[in-house]
Amino acid sequence: MSKVRIKYRKAEVLRWLSHMETYRAWMRIIRRSEIPIRYSEGFSPHPKISLGPALPVGVGSEAEYMDIKLEGDMAAATVRESINSKAPEALMVLEAKVIPDQTKSLGATVKYSDYRFYLLNERSDSLSAQERCVLEGSITKQVGKNRGQRIKCFEWSQGNEKEEQKNMIDFVLRLPVSTRVKDTLTDLDEVPDLKNCSFVVDRIAQWIGKDKMLAEPLQI
């Protein structure tokens, strides 16, 4: 038996899948890939797939994790390639690593997630200095309340890229895994001057605690 930790993305429209739907999608992808997945015992055997902390419906990700158990050994690269040949691009495996059997579950070890917030401004003009100030204040308040951290500040793109990215603001917050990202969003939504803006949120990293430091779940 071996255990493999997998990092995958959950992008494009598949951001709208619920945690349960994501799990079912993986069951089917893994069966299609014909890798030797291990099954649970009992009346209703299930493949041994264990997903990391749930992502809220509507939030995309470039850093989701799951652990799977295999019968026998298989090279991590083979696992990745086999799965990717049967997975949609929006749910692709980015990395796979064979990990020790006794490795603690993702649910028990993941401590923080980094979320990237894109603020899509539908208006043709960019935000005023005052609006930026209000937004700043709100973010600072949220980060404080949730004992999070500001990783990256605003970046104001000046319509140089694609049309739809005009006036796009993004920032990254590192939030404890227990924080409900949706609550953070709601609070920002209440900033009156930003009413016509909508958010796109992506999880871009997850962190586990290791030797009193933070490490990526694959660094074990």
Partner: protein, 612 residues
């Protein structure tokens, strides 16, 4: 191809329930985005209901496998989504490329599986910006086509459709698309609707309702004396028909979340209430090898573990034992299960179920349908009480503790004795189980009993029969409740008023369309969802149309709204069956070479039995 509506759609998703209904992008979704002729195939209910329909997957596969044709799916947006779309000015969009149905497709096809989805058809047309009535549509609209079981009485929906296809669509859909293609080429521009419809009307099975009104009446005598008779399409050589190799795998949990393989079409048991048992005659079986190959391909292509062998009565397949063995031997992968959606209530079926349970134990369902032997003879169910008790007791003995049982009330000739008979039969099933198990595990036994109300359907021997009033249905429900003693029996009812409406819509004539349109205007939609069904709306809708929702009996011999639809079954046979029913006489299954002369077998059409 990314549609300009796509982004608007995604902006709505955070505000609606179950957004994965609207995203598409499933594994095995067709990557085609264009074709010489394109059709949007609609199922007038939400995604998870529609995606459980085998016919939709089948047609999607057939059409998209054809190099010149292009098919996308579309489902009814739930109330919240529909409201958001209207608020944003978004029209009904296809699931695959998210383009407006009205501008992007030559045909808009609806699968009509259940009468209580009729208002959703109208809601979808409305959201698409297509006028509800065929006569109001202009050249900018796709041709609206309907098919499926409810098309066997097309009249209640006739004004809303440009054409119907009656019967099995495998060949006919390609003939229809081909005809549209030829018309488009011939004229080198968008062809005129009228001319296309004229060409389409030459295809067997195609019914153009605009032609169906004779002297202001839409009642038809049975032999097409008014010059109109539409023959049902019947496929022959079922073993050679295509089975989707790569069915679409939904992300959402659907009703049938597994591989579904049709192992047999038609059923000749001849239950007299059953429309499917008439309109899908004759029985045609697929061969074991064909089924096993399809199962193997679909499992590989989908990743499903579970397989459902679908038909109207799967344990009747002449090679069911061999088939199950072969499927079980396909792979030793754990977690695999096989389910048979419809089984006979007999010992043989329990043996079969036990074989299947070696892989993964699934539920067991029996459908005695009626409470007394007399009434079971009336409906030609042909089950003795001894057979039922043998089957259920055997099931308990073999380790099942929960059984599901289906019954109907309101059947023709039913008396209170028959109704109470349901309760008595349930009590007997329990006590027989207690005797057999001698106290061991008896406490775990649970009978889940679903009691539906009988709805007379067109083309059946009971098509002439009057439905009961809701109050009477409720009185009979109470009779059962009062006579069931054990807490191990769980009774579930169908809402009496739903059945009354279902009957009115199933047997209505063209005038019923007014009531359906009224109901839609009054806010009806998703009527098959308990939380949405409002009988008061329907009463008002019928009354505004000058009609009564409660149904009356039809005299035998009187012209029928569906008299022009020729299923291949002899009307005299139906009448004879009706007479036999009233005297509780049975008709045997013609599978055993006892032809009762229903009239369906002619020319190439006949029984197709595997291994013969």
């Amino acid at each position: 191809m990314s549609s300009k509506y796509e982004r608007q759609l995604y902006e709505i998703l955070p505000d609606v329930r179950r957004p994965s209904r609207y995203i598409g992008a499933e594994w095995n979704q067709s990557s085609k985005d264009t074709g010489d002729v394109s059709i949007a195939l609609a199922y007038p209910d939400v995604y998870e209901i529609g995606m459980s329909n085998l016919g939709l997957q089948l047609l999607y596969d057939i059409i998209n496998s054809h190099e010149r044709f292009h098919c996308e799916r579309v489902f009814a947006p739930w109330i919240d989504m529909e409201a958001e779309m209207q608020k944003k000015g978004l029209p009904l969009l296809s699931l695959e490329t998210k383009v407006p149905i009205k501008d992007s497709f030559d045909l808009f096809g609806f699968s009509l599986q259940y009468e209580l989805t009729f208002t959703n058809v109208l809601r979808m047309l409305r959201l698409a910006g297509i006028p509800l009535r065929s006569e109001e549509r202009d050249e900018s609209c796709p041709l609206v086509i309907g098919g499926g079981p409810c098309a066997f009485n097309p009249e209640p929906m006739a004004p809303f459709f440009d054409l119907f296809l009656i019967g099995e669509a495998e060949d006919a859909i390609l003939e229809i698309l081909d005809t549209v293609d030829k018309e488009k080429q011939k004229q080198n521009r968008k062809p005129l609707r009228e001319e296309v419809l004229k060409s389409l009307s030459r295809i067997e099975g195609v019914y153009i309702p605009a032609k169906g009104e004779i002297n202001g009446s839409s009642r038809f005598t049975e032999k097409g004396e008014q010059g109109l008779s539409i023959k049902r399409r019947v496929m022959t050589g079922i073993d050679n028909l295509s089975i989707p190799k790569n069915p679409v795998v939904p992300y959402m949990e659907t009703i049938h979340d597994r591989c579904v393989i049709e192992v047999m079409r038609g059923c000749t048991r001849g239950c007299r209430f059953c429309q499917a048992g008439i309109v899908y005659r004759p029985t045609r079986e697929r061969k074991v090898d064909t089924v096993v190959k399809a199962v193997s391909e679909q499992i590989k292509a989908t990743g499903y573990e579970d397989v459902s062998l679908s038909s109207l009565s799967t344990t009747d397949h002449s090679q069911i034992v061999e088939m199950l063995e072969a499927i079980a031997n396909l792979s030793k992968s754990p977690g695999r299960s096989i389910s048979l959606p419809s089984m006979r209530t007999d010992q043989f079926s329990v043996d079969i179920a036990a074989t299947i349970a070696k892989m993964k134990r699934t539920g067991l369902t029996f459908a005695p349908e009626a409470g007394t032997e007399r009434l079971r003879r009336v409906i030609n169910k042909g089950l003795t009480e001894a057979q039922i008790l043998e089957a259920t007791t055997k099931a308990f003995k073999m380790g099942w503790s929960r059984l599901k049982l289906y019954f109907m009330i309101g059947l023709p000739t039913e008396t209170d004795e028959d109704v109470i008979g349901i309760a008595q039969l349930l009590n007997k099933i329990l006590s027989a189980a207690r005797d057999e198990l001698k106290g061991k595990n008896v406490g775990r036994i649970k009978l889940t009993v679903s009691v539906a109300s009988f709805v007379p359907k067109p083309h059946t021997p009971f098509q002439w029969i009057k439905t009961l009033l809701p109050e009477e249905i409720e009185r009979r429900q109470k009779l059962i409740r009062d006579n069931v003693k054990s807490k191990q029996i769980f009774l579930r009812w169908h809402d009496a008023s739903v059945s009354v409406l279902e009957a009115a819509l199933a047997r209505g004539g063209r005038e019923t369309a007014n009531a359906i349109e009224n109901a839609c205007k009054l806010g009806a939609g998703f009527d098959s969802w308990t939380e949405r069904f409002e009988f008061e709306i329907w009463k008002e809708a019928f009354s505004l149309a000058g009609m009564d929702v409660g149904e009356k009996a039809i005299n035998v011999g009187e012209p029928l709204p569906w008299g022009h639809i020729d299923t291949g079954i002899d009307i005299d046979w139906l009448k004879r069956e009706y007479e036999l029913a009233t005297s509780a006489e049975e008709t045997e299954d013609c599978r055993d070479n006892l032809c009762s002369e229903c009239g369906v077998c002619r020319g190439k059409i006949g029984l197709e039995i595997a291994g013969e």
